[in-house]
């Protein structure tokens, strides 16, 4: 085992930190969080210049071919800096899905603009009842003479306010809950029959509710093979979850740092509150959770690139389940130890708090991921086979 970063990876990390320090002050965040888009085109262009937009996408698809550890370093830095721009939804999730499932002409049409910062995408897979499960797809795609007709509703589509094109999952066969029979479609935001209701989300970012009413698409809107959309969807979602965990870790580290500093400065009863042992121990608990979460982010990032589904899925579901809990712990105690100032809009701590609550609710809550994990880990026979094979 080797946990050291390569020199390129150190450069990536430093470049994000430098960007946050120089160009993404708390005031910049406050300006951005006021906007409906929750992003600024100029900032997005900077991302393109730094190469972050192409980094997570494979070279064959037109990206720069970095691995998921590289991506997690970028995401962690953005979370640490309270950066709002939709890096994970647009690039890590939607971009990877194009890279994984798209034909070469689709990749050519979309990945280039994406890498240059000229394209906004969103993946529309969740439905009102699906409760995070990407296989629960009731939206239908009926084959017609020269294409497909889509009907249904999509829910909580992250980056929905900005997306010019949606990647929509719809059934060409099978029933809701089954992995087979799900197909992916590229649907432009202005397609007749598509209604978009977008809104801001807790902790920053946007989402949308989509209604598809007789949305008529030509054959070339199909992304990947018909009925086989689930595997790339799940895989791209895993990339997104790994990156979201890294983003959360960045926010947790920021909160720990601020709280430890504050405890050293804030005086009550004539002494810094950090001299009280209850406060010290709570800070220690926060520190330990940050350490554990760092490990979970690392293993999730390494395994996100693993082709073995069980190993990958356990790493991802485990990380999300763990960090949903640990980030909540760190966020809640950071607020508590700040006292009154911690619950205000004036201090960034409250904004990190909301970001982490939002993280908890996106891409699967703890309950969902524990169930996913249990389904994989409690199959004793499969475990034995896997160990024998390893």
């Amino acid at each position: 085992m080797d946990f050291s970063l390569s020199s390129e990876q150190e450069m990536i990390r430093d470049s994000v930190n430098r960007f946050v320090e120089k160009d993404y002050s708390f005031d910049k965040y406050l300006d951005t969080v006021k906007t409906d888009a929750q992003m600024q085109p100029k900032t997005w262009q900077q991302f393109a210049e730094f190469g972050w937009l192409g980094q997570p996408l494979s070279e064959t698809a037109g990206g720069y071919g970095g691995n998921a550890v590289d991506t997690s370093l970028i995401a962690e830095g953005l979370g640490n800096g309270l950066v709002l721009e939709p890096y994970i939804a647009n690039i890590v999730f939607a971009g990877n899905l194009i890279a994984l499932a798209g034909s070469s002409s689709q990749q050519e049409a979309l990945v280039g603009p994406l890498v240059e910062g000229n394209k906004q995408l969103a993946v529309a897979f969740a439905e009102r009842i699906s409760r995070y499960n990407p296989a629960w797809c009731a939206t239908t795609a009926q084959a017609s003479d020269d294409g497909y007709v889509l009907n249904g509703e999509k829910h909580g589509v992250v980056n929905g306010a900005n997306a010019e094109t949606f990647i929509v999952s719809a059934r060409t066969g099978g029933n809701a809950g089954e992995t087979a029979g799900i197909s992916l479609f590229l649907v432009d935001a202005n397609t007749p029959g598509l209604t978009i209701r977008s809104y801001k989300t807790l902790g920053g970012g946007t989402a949308a509710e989509l209604t598809l009413n007789e949305v008529t698409l030509s054959d070339d809107a199909l992304l990947g093979a018909p009925g086989e959309g689930f595997a790339p969807l799940e895989r791209a979602l895993d990339y997104a979850i790994a990156a979201a965990c890294a983003d959360a870790l960045g926010a947790m580290k920021a909160m720990l740092k601020r709280t430890a500093e504050y405890a050293g400065q804030r005086k009550q009863f004539g002494v810094p509150i950090g001299s009280f042992q209850v406060i010290q121990h709570k800070l220690v608990d926060m520190f330990i959770e940050v350490e554990q979460s760092t490990s979970m982010v690392l293993q999730a990032a390494v395994q996100a690139d693993n082709d073995d589904r069980v190993t990958r899925r356990k790493a991802i579901a485990g990380a999300k389940a763990y960090i949903n809990k640990s980030s909540k712990f760190v966020a809640q105690w950071a607020v508590q130890l700040h006292g009154g100032i911690g619950v205000t809009e004036e201090l960034d701590v409250g904004h990190y708090f909301r970001r982490l609550t939002g993280f908890n609710l996106q891409y699967g809550d703890r309950e969902y991921h524990l169930k996913q994990f249990a389904a994989l880990s409690c199959d004793i026979e499969a475990n034995a086979e896997q160990r024998a094979a390893a």
């Binding site: 508590q336 009154g340 911690g342 809009e345 004036e346 609710l361």
Partner: protein, 388 residues
Amino acid sequence: MNLDFSPEEKQFQQEVRSWMQANVPTQKKPGAMGYHSRDDQMAWEQLLGKQGWLASNWPTEFGGPGWNATEQHIFDEERAAAGGAITSPFGLTMLAPVLMKFGSPAQQERFLPKIAKCEELWCQGYSEPGAGSDLASLKTAAIRDGNEYVVNGQKIWTTQGHWADWIFCLVRTDNEGRKQQGISFLLIDMKTPGIEVRPIHTIDGEHHLNEVFFTDVRVPAENLVGEEGQGWTIAKYLLSHERTCIAGVAGSKAGIEGLKKLLANTPTETGTRLDDPTVRQRIAELEVDLMALEFTNFRTLDKMAKGQPPGAESSGLKIKGTELQQALTEARVELGGDDSLPWHNEEEIGHAEYNNASLAYNFLRASTIYGGSNEIQKNVIAKFLVAL
């Protein structure tokens, strides 16, 4: 020992319930953390006042209904269950007991009737930027000048300060001796020249709190409650009252019932969310905690009714009560899943109740900070426990 309501209490419960059912719907619907405007708040409280029920914790001699602890509890539970907003505590449950015990007859006559009818709203001016948990280190100065005090300084975290007609303040009238000894309790008209109120926005994105600045504010000396230097004794008396009402039993009870209904109304792949065993377990955990809290609350109220002052129990109630409020609002947010994500969105996305869940969750992070933080409450209890 008997844990049932008496026949009279049951009848009383019916009476309150039908009144609430008839009257709560005539009022504006409160937001996640109560009303957003002074007018809505006052309209609701004045309605209760007309019925003689606003000052629900007051004895008859001061114009209250004279209810015993059980009746007060029933009243509060029925109010919460019907969705009636919580009343502003500053005049009713904080200042009023202080005036009854320490105020002059003239002060009682001047202020209590207007509180009981909600003709005036109050706020609490205790905390300062440098004096939070260590309240006794407060600096806002009141210097006697003839028949007036001249007040200079700053208060912070003043809930409803932008609504209030009056503020009760802890001020420093003496810098000698122990810092607790130089504190006095002063009533100040918010319209007095020299007072400036600035808003503070909390992490639910709303305006509940304020900073209040005092520059050469002249206050009639008759507005001093008790004697000069008695402020700390009065403050401690007030805090014990604040802590029991902060347990929020009625609100949590209504919240848990509301959450069950909401879950029963949330469809899943096979039925509703309330059918899910993991969800049921979470609800049961909340409800069992509520049960323990409710009866601990009864025990404390019983003790107070028998004339014994609440001791460490009120700190324990505050801790468990606020932890339950937080666990409940956290459960609502998490069980809402991505329906809890829309942020201050006017249009309903799925269930509005989930959409708004994060507002109460965010705001109530403060419940373990205000009214004496839970760490401070633990210090209080520890003093009872550990013989040093």
